[in-house]
Symmetry: C2
Subunit: 295 residues, 2 copies
Amino acid sequence: MSRLTDALAETAEATTRLLDELLAPLEGPVGRVVEAMRYGALGGGKRLRPFLVVESAALFDVPAERALRSAAALEMVHCYSLIHDDLPAMDDSDLRRGRPTVHKAFDEATAILAGDGLLTEAFAVLADQASHRDPAIRVALIAALAGAAGAAGMVGGQMIDLSPERANLDLEGITQLQRLKTGALIAFACEAGAILGQAKPAERAALIDYARELGLAFQIVDDLLDATGSAAELGKPAGQDAALGKATFVGQLGIDGARRKAEETIKLACSRLDLFAEKADLLRETAVFVLERRS
Amino acid sequence: MSRLTDALAETAEATTRLLDELLAPLEGPVGRVVEAMRYGALGGGKRLRPFLVVESAALFDVPAERALRSAAALEMVHCYSLIHDDLPAMDDSDLRRGRPTVHKAFDEATAILAGDGLLTEAFAVLADQASHRDPAIRVALIAALAGAAGAAGMVGGQMIDLSPERANLDLEGITQLQRLKTGALIAFACEAGAILGQAKPAERAALIDYARELGLAFQIVDDLLDATGSAAELGKPAGQDAALGKATFVGQLGIDGARRKAEETIKLACSRLDLFAEKADLLRETAVFVLERRS
């Protein structure tokens, strides 16, 4: 699996470098919001979503450097969602990736604005011709990202997560929540690769299916880590979901059941890649990596 | 001026109708965020920005119905900014247009998500081919809107408005703050018309200049209303800026000085429209309307 970890590290580094460039500091009092955007976007993370963009695009022989702007735009949206989710009015988290969350390092108003700024900047990045010379491709990326991030996607998922109904969701409800809250953006990662690669409809659909299952497995593993991990491993307090009385995959299926479910889901994800044959090996390894991750 | 008020009312109604259609209610717990988006976007307002889009596009013989989607997308961004600005961590306003603000009618988390959802949906609307058949035009609209709304535009303006430096801004500083916080989005309104109309660069620049001055006058009049108006006229508490110790145009120039400055600015705005001759008469009337508005 060292080929995968090398590739992951390489894309993570390239994404961070590009984000650093795209989010150039500004002078004066306005500079504070850019500083907070940089804090929220440059603070590490596995950069799994950018990696999925780059590797999906590679299936269609799109070079990594031509996929990286889309990857960075997606990561901006992911980071904005973390900043807003961490706010006191939402999940009220003080710690993220082992450091203070944006509203703790700055303040609430700045965190709200930094999230708004990152979300907006993501679309600015995709709209720029440097992301693809064909405006039809750029606008397809924007449409897909907006669909994945909006009320019928990620924002809707976070709304369910905060709803009174949240505590008593059954397995179907938790799955639906996850598909919106984290799954939609992961699905966009692979869809972006397909759009950049001008994939055939069947190829695009297969990649989206793969990503949906991958996203689901990712969340089940998250629940397992929350139930069994330590704060040091997670970079944030463990056992939060149970403490908040939230229904989880582990709560519904038990630890062994959730582990089996994650394994089955990863198998299903990999089966969606059959039509790419060995060209998709790195995406298959990614699925196994998601299953075995420890933080 | 009844031609103008009729035209304003007509565009306001058409915009609200389109927003109602674009923000279709959703079932289940996710429906709550759409309900809050609708509350924040359908609650009235003059719809000045949509009107500027439609009238700027009309200079190039773009029919109103072909400009309305861009107008609605811009209004979504404007409404999102109001929802987030009203939050307790920001301006902490309980009242907007004579009714409870979104976080009062719902709750803080829902208001944050509703703003996020409206911002995202704005880009989804522009990316859709119904907004213009040419993807190059759609992507130009998206790039311009993202530029106007982001950290180098509206979000940056709100950051300055919340900064410790805010209380002691001089006239130049207040002007800069306003150009970002409200001016950038008003400038985009006219720029959008120019983009939809495939205007020549000089025409596009003239419209942006007009809108910048109009936006500045709008803010000066806002300050005058805040200093001299009543809560009933404003639909929100009066005297907020002074109470918060914020430097304003009125504070810098006095009431008479601010009034003179607004008049001069409106004259300047109108002079930018010379190259459109009488075709821009409605935009000239709009400038006078902004100067004379009472709420």
